[in-house]
């Protein structure tokens, strides 16, 4: 079944684009011919019932699947403006990950200090100058709205932060390296409503600098934070369009059923 894709009238510049992307976990085909644009400095939400392949799709963008044997891509994800195919065997996954950051469902700070956590990406990139590191860490923590809470205890272990703070720390960590895209995989599902609110706000703020893909199982969240929404079902992209359109007048019956909660 072909996806129903409704492009906006004045499309913003493209940041990336999946082109008939298939994905296999061993023999199991988890993504079936997904083609979808990602617009620059916009938030694109991925919604769909559990197991439909949202996380799988998201993790293609930073080649996370490369870590596991037997996981296989087929198709392309073009990154613009330099037109590289992220999935190309020739392309170094580490390079891809340096350009595209990710925030996970469960906050996963490293067992290090707050400072070290945020500085990690920079250190990996060869930055050694302490002043530069300190500056960038501060900027990133401010960007993740965490600076005020932690500025006096940058050397504390990150695991001692609360869940919401940890997640913002992970966002700071992702922000610190000036990525081109940030992938969020249900970033608030482990958090309480207040922490969720602050993360959503954050997403709204940072999208001015970076393109965002966000997986969520919470319709309201998708409606609140995203500019575009993609509805996936059983490994296929069912419908893609501007968020308002998807929620107000979905083109497909399945999308409507899902959004109104009649199914899933």
């Amino acid at each position: 079944m072909p996806s129903t894709i409704t492009l906006p009238q004045n499309p913003p510049p493209l940041k990336a684009e999946a082109k008939s992307l298939d994905f296999y976990y061993g023999d199991f085909k988890a993504l079936k011919g997904v083609s979808m644009p990602v617009y620059e400095n916009k938030v694109t939400a991925l919604i769909g019932p559990s197991g439909c392949g949202k996380s799988t799709f998201l993790r293609c963008f930073n080649r996370m699947h490369d870590l596991y044997p037997g996981h296989r891509y087929d198709g392309k994800i073009e990154l613009y403006p330099d037109n590289v195919d992220l999935l190309d065997k020739q392309v170094d996954p580490i390079e891809v990950r340096m350009r595209i950051s990710m925030v996970f469902q469960k906050p996963n700070p490293f067992p290090k200090s707050i400072f070290e956590n945020v500085a990690y990406g920079l250190k990996v990139r060869g930055e050694k100058n302490r002043t530069v590191l300190e500056d960038k860490v501060e900027v990133a923590l401010k960007g993740a709205a965490l600076w005020n809470e932690v500025k006096d205890r940058l050397d504390d272990l990150a695991v001692n932060l609360s869940g919401g703070q940890q997640q913002r720390l992970c966002i700071a960590r992702a922000l610190a390296t000036d990525p081109e895209i940030i992938l969020f995989d249900e970033p608030t599902s482990a958090l309480d409503p207040i922490a969720t609110g602050s993360i959503e706000e954050l997403v709204g703020e940072i999208k001015h600098k970076v393109s965002i893909l966000i997986v969520t199982h919470n319709m309201q969240q998708a409606a609140r934070v995203s500019d575009f929404t993609a509805y996936m079902y059983l490994g296929e992209l069912m419908e893609f369009g501007e968020t308002n359109d998807i929620f107000m007048k979905p083109k497909r019956k399945e999308t409507e059923d899902y959004i109104t909660g009649r199914f899933g």
Partner: protein, 311 residues
């Protein structure tokens, strides 16, 4: 991203990758050092010892004539000691582990047992030898017998059996226990009908590893004083002594003097005649083959048998 930045990035990645290569290389190197050592040891023994591995080698008693010397008394001794060890360590170890894993409530006593077992696992085997000497030999007057040796080694491998059993029990998912309880089973029924059965592969692995450790232990056996020339077998139950006509009791063998493989090896290597060293190599080869195949069996069990129990 512009080309200049990209190439800078690539340079950094290349540099970082070097360490990946280094660790892989070192890891493989170190692994092969370990494995090659094992191979060297094995080949060395095999080359010296294999010519001596005739059937008579297994059916002859030790002798002052190297060509006639065999390992009959020592392999029988090892086997019997292992038998006692297993009979003591396996039930006690499994029962203890079940208690700790399934019954123990959190209190100071179980905490003491826990810490204690961890500590015992690190206690040098020679200390067990001292325990056996002071307690079994001199206090309980069990003598330098198969029973003493078996008990000593049983205590030595108890922590191994307990730890393996606990791990096996822990790997049984909670929902299996819940399913059994939900059927109205009592705790002992859950343990006996399910947990023990499903953790058997893990327990067996632990037992075999423990036994393979015990069979090669030398120091505690020397400490209890088994450095002896033995050219006879412990009395089989009911065996008739041709001189006296008396039949041996069912458990007489437990009190019999004995020797074991490592002691026999030790004895032969300390002989001046180099031909005894060939015997020692041959016996070592047999012993290593025994322990290695026990270990291999345990590993095989761990990887195969476990697959038969799915949750």
């Amino acid at each position: 991203m512009n080309a200049e930045k990209t190439s800078a990035l690539r340079a950094i990645i290349r540099k970082a990758r070097r360490y990946d290569l280094l660790v892989s290389a070192l890891g493989l190197l170190f692994l092969s050092i370990g494995i090659l050592t094992l191979a060297a040891l094995f080949v060395d023994m095999a080359l010296t010892g294999i010519p001596r591995l005739t059937p008579e080698f297994f059916t002859n008693f030790p002798s002052r004539r190297p060509g006639e010397a065999g390992i009959l008394s020592s392999w029988v001794g090892s086997l019997l000691v292992m038998f006692v060890t297993a009979c003591v360590a396996v039930p006690i170890g499994i029962a203890g582990a079940i208690y700790l894993e399934e019954y123990a409530r959190k209190n100071w006593f179980t905490a003491v047992i826990e810490i204690n077992i961890t500590n015992l696992a690190g206690v040098p085997s020679i200390i067990y030898g001292l325990l056996a000497l002071g307690l079994f030999v001199y206090t309980f007057k069990l003598g330098q017998s198969i029973l003493t040796a078996g008990l000593t080694l049983a205590l030595l491998i108890l922590p191994i059996v307990i730890t393996a059993t606990r791990e096996a029990l822990r790997s049984i998912p909670q929902h299996i226990r819940e399913a059994a309880y939900a059927c109205g089973a009592s705790q002992w029924q859950v343990v006996n009908d399910h947990l023990v059965k499903y953790s058997m592969p893990g327990i067996l692995t632990g037992v075999i590893i423990g036994m393979s450790r015990a069979i090669g232990e030398t120091a505690p056996i020397i400490t209890i004083g088994a450095l002896t020339f033995i050219a006879f077998l412990p009395p089989a139950p009911g065996q008739i002594n041709i001189e006296t006509g008396a039949a041996a009791g069912l458990f007489d063998w437990l009190w019999s003097p004995f020797t074991v493989m490592p002691i026999q090896i030790f004895n032969w290597t300390s002989r001046p005649d180099p031909r005894f060293h060939e015997n020692a190599a041959a016996a070592s080869f047999v012993l290593v083959l025994m322990t290695l195949s026990m270990n291999a069996l345990a590993i095989w069990l761990r990887y195969r048998l476990r697959k038969n129990i799915k949750w």
